[in-house]
Amino acid sequence: VLSVRQAPLREVAPSDEVIVERIRAGSDDAFRQLYFRYARYVAGVVVRLMGDDLELEDVVQDTFVRAAERIDTLRSPAHVRPWLVTIAVRFARERLGRRRRRGQLRQEASHHFPTMSDPRDRARADELYAALDQLPEKYRIPWFLARVEGEKLEDVAMACGVSLATVKRRIHEAQTRLDRRLEVRP
């Protein structure tokens, strides 16, 4: 008796480049694939950057609407993830700026602060965000993307729309100010 064992078929996820090409060709399914691949990641960056989830859905929504409409301007489809982060950061920056102008940073939002697994870290996170709230967005965002999200400096520069040299200087300045503020605190 001849028996043939067939290897199970495996579904290979398409690369970012393939998905972007399909979106450009008008595929709604490909856009959904991109969304389900990166929405959670974008949401994580946004919630950590803003320190709460008050406007999380709005920022993620705006990010993917903008991405769908500007996908043709993406020069390197392989860099779609940092590109999405760039868009999200811009929307988050706008909203942070708006909150700052209204004097709402953290004061009203503190009770919406996402939960931490360790309550001691909750206090330290509060302290960190209180210090971050004192920093202008131009320092806060590059520091956050580089030091917390671990993004490459080139991607941070792209997200912030400034040169590599400028972004390095701003991260350094942010670090200095944060060190000063957190050391001064009792």
């Binding site: 969304y35 929405a39 959670r40 919630v47 859905e57 996170a125 960190l128």
Partner: protein, 362 residues
């Protein structure tokens, strides 16, 4: 500061499947709206110019024209005739929305109003032939769902005929977008499109009309009861849909699932037309399942599916209803729901689970 990445990395990201799908729904709605706006823009410019000329000509004529003798004709004002749930039948002949849009039922027709808000009107045509006259409104989407064929309206007059084997869409004026199971077509004035009905007429699983699920306090048991004759009006200030959702989210975060279920039930019951009610009914299903209230979970998922059979959560809702019916020991209903899922979503994400339910139910 050096510890910041670790501390912030431990932050819980409040992002779950439901939230993900809810935002995707909003993204797709926004994109559709913007596409419609772009398509309409050249027409609007022409209409604006034409309108200007028309107004000028009318002003001249008004000065020159002689006023005819006799009484002026009365002006008829139509209002939304039925409270929720709005189910209109051919006997009632026409549904008129506050903005003047009309759905005229021509033969054996039945139309349900699934959603009616400032941003979206969604009608579900169950049967028959209906002629729609839709008042253009760029701030509101108008969608007709005819057995899975979605007709997205831009401001027009058209007829949808739901036959035994097919769905026909004929446009008299303006433009519509028709989305079938595998393609999207745009029709203009004079166009007619016929799409095969891939599945037999959908028979939704309906809970017994005389049974309602009462939510008991934390730790209590839900029991089916006879529907009361009437509900006493609440004595306290009525919370908004958003407040109820926030209350439910906060209760879920604290693990107080009974309170969460209560808030979600109230939201769905009190604000059936609010956009939040759709995802809340799905969330209610998940909460009830976590509490071990499987029949109530199935009811919530079924309600979610019936609310928008082509919505972002429809596929999941139908599948979760089948799972919950099985868990509740209702094998017949589980099998019916699983079969309905497989008929509608032959290559859906839950097909393996649904097949297992059918096997178990045999």
């Amino acid at each position: 500061v050096s510890d910041a990445p670790r501390i912030v990395g431990q932050m819980h990201v409040p992002w779950d499947d439901l939230r993900e799908r809810r935002v995707l729904g909003k993204v797709e709605a926004k994109l559709a709206e913007r596409r419609a706006m772009r398509r309409r823009r050249p027409w609007l410019v022409a209409a604006g110019l034409g309108g200007g000329l028309f107004v000028a000509a009318a002003a001249v004529l008004a000065v020159l024209a002689l006023r005819p003798a006799g009484e002026e004709p009365a002006i008829a004002v139509a209002e939304l005739p039925v409270p929720s749930p709005q189910v209109l039948t051919a006997d009632e002949s026409a549904l008129t929305l506050p903005d003047g849009s009309r759905a005229q039922m021509l033969g054996g027709a039945r139309v349900d109003v699934a959603v009616q808000s400032a941003e979206l009107v969604q009608l579900v045509q169950r049967s028959g032939v209906v002629r729609y006259e839709v008042t253009p409104n760029p701030d509101r989407r108008f969608v007709v769902d005819a057995d899975g064929v979605e007709v997205r309206v831009i401001g027009t007059v058209f007829t949808v005929s739901l036959g035994e084997d097919d769905v026909r869409v004929a446009v008299e004026r303006g433009r519509v977008e028709v989305a079938g199971t595998d393609r999207v077509s745009e029709l203009g004035a004079g166009d007619e499109l016929k799409l095969d009905r891939a599945v037999p007429v959908d028979e939704p699983i309906v809970l017994d009309d005389d049974v309602v699920i009462e939510i008991e306090p934390e730790g209590g048991q839900s029991k089916p009861r006879e529907k009361p004759a009437g509900r006493a009006p609440p004595q306290h200030e009525t919370p908004s849909a958003k407040e109820l959702l926030d209350r439910a989210d906060a209760a879920r975060m604290r693990g107080r699932l009974g309170e969460a279920a209560e808030a979600l039930s109230e939201l769905v019951r009190r604000y059936p037309r609010d956009p939040l009610a759709y995802s809340s009914s799905f969330q209610l299903g998940k909460v009830q399942r976590s509490r071990g209230q499987h029949a109530a979970a199935a009811a919530a998922f079924t309600a979610c599916h019936r609310r928008a059979p082509s919505g972002a959560l429809a596929e999941d809702a139908r599948a979760e209803a089948a799972v919950s019916w099985l868990a509740a020991g209702k094998k017949d209903r589980a099998a019916a729901a699983a079969q309905a899922y497989l008929d509608r979503y032959a290559s859906g994400a839950h097909r393996a689970r649904m097949q297992r339910i059918l096997d178990k139910a045999e």
